[in-house]
């Protein structure tokens, strides 16, 4: 399947964080690439979403949904920087 990008996560992330998150800056822990969430490489399949670094494919974020509850794991993302809302 062709990947999407972080723009596709705008709705669910806005739902979870009550603000736009696609302009959130990140620095990849593996390759040092910096960018914003909108630029991540995103694979969505049913209840599971994986976001990878555009520089090196490292997994930056995983999002799973079960019975209306979301579980979010941002272990690959150092220094998330939130822009002004």
């Amino acid at each position: 399947m062709e990947p999407l990008d972080g723009n596709a996560l705008a709705g669910v992330m806005h739902d979870l964080f009550a603000r736009d998150m696609t302009t959130m800056g990140y620095k990849c822990t593996s390759c040092g690439h910096t960018g914003v969430m909108a630029e991540m490489v995103v694979y969505m399949s049913g209840p599971g979403t994986v976001a990878r670094c555009r520089g090196c494919e490292t997994i930056l974020m995983m999002l799973t949904e079960r019975r209306g509850m979301y579980c979010i794991d941002m272990s690959g993302m150092a220094q998330p920087v939130l822009p002004l809302a």
Partner: protein, 249 residues
């Protein structure tokens, strides 16, 4: 950041279909009346949610085709024959029906006038949808930012917003280029074939003019266009991209 279970904070709302417009044999624009629409920024999208009689739900993102100041919220949807959601939106939805969605969302793939220009809008297939919102917004606010638009479609019949694009091309500030990738009428005087650096450089701005570029369409199209622009010396920081999934145009 730590693992955390979180609650939802963006609510679903309902719009009523006011009209549907046939853009091409596979594409329709759906105009929605939405009570208390908060307004949007050109380039944003909504998430549409369908619920089956048995309660099964599924959702997809659709860019907003209308300008912030337009009367109705419009979406333009291309039917994928084996798709779960798009055939319903294109073939089944009728005036008076209700549609559930949440939004507007997205703060990256948006154009505000203060971002400046010159603007280069590159769209493949239905990737023209958010770019149309930007073009309409540009006109509505009387922006003086010069714009070049490059559209890629399989054939002239499958090019969405054809008349509107032609009309806008009469404006001195707006330059529209079209490339047809599969078939072209014998009288066709536009471009042919898939986008590549040569076409991007002819239809776009010189890198030295520091253009602000928006690229949208099928994933493979966006990758090709973005790589081509960087190869031409465009500042990657001034190229914004949005991928719809699927392969080329």
């Amino acid at each position: 950041m730590e693992r955390a279970a979180l609650l939802r904070r963006l609510t679903w709302q309902t719009g009523t279909v006011i009209a549907t417009t046939v853009e091409t044999p596979r594409v329709k624009t759906i105009a929605l009346a939405v009570p208390d629409w908060p307004g949007h920024r050109a380039g944003q999208h909504v998430d549409v949610r369908l619920t089956a009689p048995d309660g099964y739900q599924t959702q997809r993102s659709y860019s907003i085709a209308s300008a912030p100041g337009d009367d109705y919220l419009s979406l333009t949807v291309e039917r994928l024959d084996d798709g779960e959601v798009s055939p319903y939106l294109v073939d089944e939805l009728r005036g008076g029906d209700e549609l559930e969605f949440r939004g507007p969302v997205g703060g990256h793939f948006v154009w505000d006038e203060e971002f400046g220009g010159p603007l280069f809008l590159v769209g493949g297939g239905s990737g023209l949808v958010p770019l149309r919102s930007m073009l309409r917004h540009h006109r509505a606010i009387g922006s003086q930012v010069p714009v070049r638009v490059l559209c890629s479609a399989r054939s002239l019949e499958s090019l969405i917003y054809r008349e509107e694009l032609m009309k806008r091309a009469a404006d001195d500030l707006i330059d529209v280029s079209i490339t047809l990738t599969r078939e072209a009428p014998s009288s066709w005087r536009g471009y042919r074939g898939r986008i590549d650096p040569a076409l991007l450089s002819t239809a776009g701005w010189a890198a030295a003019e520091e253009p602000l570029t928006y690229v949208c369409g099928p994933t493979a199209f966006v990758e090709t266009a973005a790589a081509g622009l960087v190869a031409l010396g465009y500042d990657a920081g001034r190229i914004r991209t949005e991928r719809f999934g699927g392969t080329g145009v």
